[in-house]
Amino acid sequence: MVPMGRLARAGPALGGAALAGAARLLRVPRRGARPGADGDAAAPARWEVVTVDRPAEQVLPEGRWPEPLRRLDGAVEVRVRPAPGDRGTELAARPLAGVTPPTGLAAHLVGDDPGLLVRRTLRQIKQRAEAGEVLRADRSALDRPEVHG
């Protein structure tokens, strides 16, 4: 089971309120979660996979999980293999068994699909490796005091 100290590092990605939901996402045994690939609730979750256009030693420096993925240590399993055609590295992850839908804000963010958090994490790894940074959205007008014209 993942210690809370490690889970706390998920804060920057999801926000504090989401963190509590994310903790439950990782700790509570699966019960009625989205079924696996074949519609069988007991089946493992489907792999989420992304191709990163960089060699494996850049995607996983010194064989270690990169930072956004490290936050999910103990909650996901990871598979790495070279992509055919010199296209870099195929990086796959899926939630370990024992995952249940989150509650609170986290549920609002990821719904009943634990794979969403995994997909977002993989996407951030890909962006960091290929673009050097995670592309942030324009600040919403709702984030700032509104100016009327």
Binding site: R87, R119, K126, Q127
Partner: protein, 382 residues
Amino acid sequence: MRALCWVAAGELAVREVPDPELRNERDVIVRVRRSATGGGDLPLLAGRHPLLRPGDVLGAEFLGEVVEAGPGVRRHRAGDRVVVGASVACGGCWYCRQGLHSCCDNAHADLPSADPDWVRSDAGCFGRPRAAGGFAGGHAEYVRVPYADVSAFRVPDAVDDVRAVFAADVAPTGWLAAELGAVRQGDVVAIWGAGAVGQVTARAAVLRGAARVLVVDRHEERLRMAERHSDAEPLDYRRTDVAAELRDRSGGRGPDVCVVAVGTPPARSRADRFGGQHADRPDALREAVHACRKSGVVVVLGGTDGFVDAFPLGALTERRLTLRGAGRPDLRDVPMLLDRMARGELRTEHLATHRLPLAQGPEGYALFRDRADGCVRAVFTP
């Protein structure tokens, strides 16, 4: 700052909105000098995007001056006059490294509410809904430009703003069409649509050595423009049998390359669709497929709502046609096009039929949408 915002279906307004700010190390902030209307904005204007929100700023084609640069920017500094490609692209993913910037894997903004999707590319663009991962558009006083070293290009002094603004989208799209069609010396090229992109496609085909370039439309002023500025032969489909004319002018073979650049068709009502009623113009795509020579290439540029019924698949397979498509241009051709603009080989300023202050943005879009008063493109100055 002031910006042209979407308010509701069919309604735009110039409003005061917060200034943009640097959000990533590779961003720059551009003070806009010119921005142009584009066909891709029309479905948004009509309210046909589910994630569009009131206050979203439109405008995918703009030019301006860098006023602020993030610490990761290497090629630009404050004061540079730049044109910004319509596609947001990272420059480092597999697609970007192939020159396919419009397919960039990393062009969507990271939003907690959005489900990452590897295959979509429509939102990695200026003037597209923020909720879809898009970025505020160029019909504004200032714009944030992500990945500026990849997306922004310094404009040669010899190219004025109104010519150069079309290097953002119109010119690279037209050039891409000729490239996708693999237009070569001696080809006969037919283009449906004499709008801005169709006209640049015609010019690109001429520059690539096409022997004949024919442009099909019904707007006389656009056809005259294509004839004058692109050396194209005009065909008014209201007055001539286009298929027969194309056969005649290609020695009975049919055009080697057919490009469909008719823009976004008007939405049809369900009643019209079920009743078998179609838009009042000929179906350009079907006509292009039937007209193209055996083993020729048909290129379709953007502008569809996703599904087209009654596609002549039999003609495509029996006659071994190649069908290629593009919704947005890549960035790799922008420097070359700016050089051609500087040498006078590619002139685009005539496309700016209506030059208006940004405050008249809603009127400019109404002219552009309705093709009224001979409008090809409205260009705004903030």
